[in-house]
């Protein structure tokens, strides 16, 4: 039974709709602009940080599913790995776009080649290459194996690019949860609450889309196999 058919599943969807509406409203009208940011720029953080977080989570799920595919050889794990990587890429693009808008307001330029910006560019290219690899192999078995190996190797670089590089080099990027050398941690309890609510909401969106995508991909593959028979 798919999660969409249960009463709980349906309730969760409507709760997510209301939850995110409240988060959007709170992000704009409940909290005041945080100290240490220009104008209203701090409000972007409520959408930028969750998208970046979900991208990292999606890449982790893709890595775990890839490991499972290599050990169990089940088709569903390959589907999960590819769907999760696709969602991770989509959320990483959203994080880049929102980050660029933030950079324009804060530093008067959409792109500064800051360590964060450079590392997300590398990340985007790495996962774009994952899909180039998947698209270039016809044999499903071989495609699953090679792309699983690639996804594991790609994920090894993710924590390094997301968490380590921006902390080794001096970065303009503010850290709203923990203070960095560049400062910008002007978030009080209300800001943190809205940010955490947004994180939960975006994680819910990811879980829902992931579930729908996996089921859709599974159906498409089944149809494809039926047609080939």
């Amino acid at each position: 039974m798919s999660p969409g058919t249960t009463v709980l599943g349906q309730a969760a969807r409507w709760l997510l709709l209301v939850w995110m509406c409240v988060v959007i409203w709170a992000a704009f009208f409940v909290v005041h602009p945080a100290e240490g940011f220009k104008g209203q720029a701090s409000r972007i953080v409520f959408f930028h940080v969750p998208t970046a977080w979900v991208a990292t989570l999606a890449f982790l799920v893709s890595c775990v599913a890839s490991v499972l595919y290599l050990t169990r050889r089940r088709k569903v794990d390959d589907i999960r790995a590819s769907v999760s990587a696709a969602l991770g890429l989509a959320f990483a693009i959203m994080a880049t776009v929102t980050g660029s808008i933030f950079a324009k307001i804060e530093w008067n330029s959409f792109w500064n080649w800051d360590p964060r910006e450079t590392s997300i560019t590398i990340l985007l290219l790495m996962y774009a290459a994952y899909f180039a690899l998947r698209g270039s192999i016809a044999d499903p078995e071989l495609r699953g194996t090679l792309s699983a190996a690639y996804a594991i190797l790609a994920f090894i670089a993710v924590p390094f690019l997301v968490f380590v590089v921006p902390r080794i080099y001096w970065s303009l990027h503010p850290d709203v949860i923990g203070q960095t050398r560049s400062g910008g941690g002007g978030f009080d309890a209300a800001h943190t609450l809205v940010l955490l609510a947004s994180l939960a909401g975006f994680t819910g969106i990811f879980a829902w889309i992931f579930s729908v995508e996996c089921r859709l991909e599974h159906l498409l593959r089944r149809r494809q196999e039926e047609l080939l028979r």
């Binding site: 798919s2 969409g4 058919t5 969807r13 997510l16 709709l17 995110m20 509406c21 959007i24 409203w25 992000a27 704009f28 009208f29 602009p33 220009k38 104008g39 209203q40 720029a41 409000r43 972007i44 959408f47 590819s82 769907v83 990587a85 696709a86 969602l87 890429l89 989509a90 959320f91 693009i93 959203m94 776009v97 929102t98 660029s100 808008i101 324009k104 307001i105 774009a128 899909f131 180039a132 998947r134 698209g135 270039s136 192999i137 016809a138 044999d139 071989l142 969106i205 829902w208 889309i209 729908v212 995508e213 089921r215 859709l216 991909e217 159906l219 498409l220």
Partner: protein, 210 residues
Amino acid sequence: MTTPLVCARPLTRSGAGWLLRPCLGPARALLAAAIVLAVAGAAAVPAAAQAGGPRDQTSHDPGSGTEPEATVSAPSSPGDGLLPLASASLVQGEVQVAGSIERATVHQLQVDGETVYGFELFDAAGGRLSVTVRGALPDGFDEAGVALVSGSMADGRLLASQILLPGAPSSSRDQSRGLTGVMVISLIVWAGLFIYIFRVDRRVHRMEVS
């Protein structure tokens, strides 16, 4: 005979289609949402930038509108003190002044196809200073009594680079309107995304059942 490791499938697909192929349905909608948000965000950039700067310079006290000394707080950096208008006209380079706007002197000119505004500021000590503004005047200028102007002095005129209007009644209203606009766009994007995924979800469920 050996099976080739890499086939020519990407060559048969047009453009970036092969790259976006795995991003079926909802993920594609996410990308579309990102683009809409980017447009909304880019539209919000000027408003957000205008709302920037030290918070105490955008006064929320509508009652204090005529006396510059009473309404304009001191700049945050120690090197950028406010100059009296009479002294400012004698210096060269970057200055920051505050004064009441002389309404009768506000005028508009076209210089090399560019719109230029000019007006005079006066203060309680009797000092006067001509100000030139390139481009548009800030929102709320028509209602503002006092202006805090930063810019560079040249030939006794101040070429304004930034104009802040303490106590201007429309500034917070414009800011609120801008925020409401961005919030409404965000809500529409989210609602659209929700409806789209919801419909895909139901359709997938129907396909699973059949």
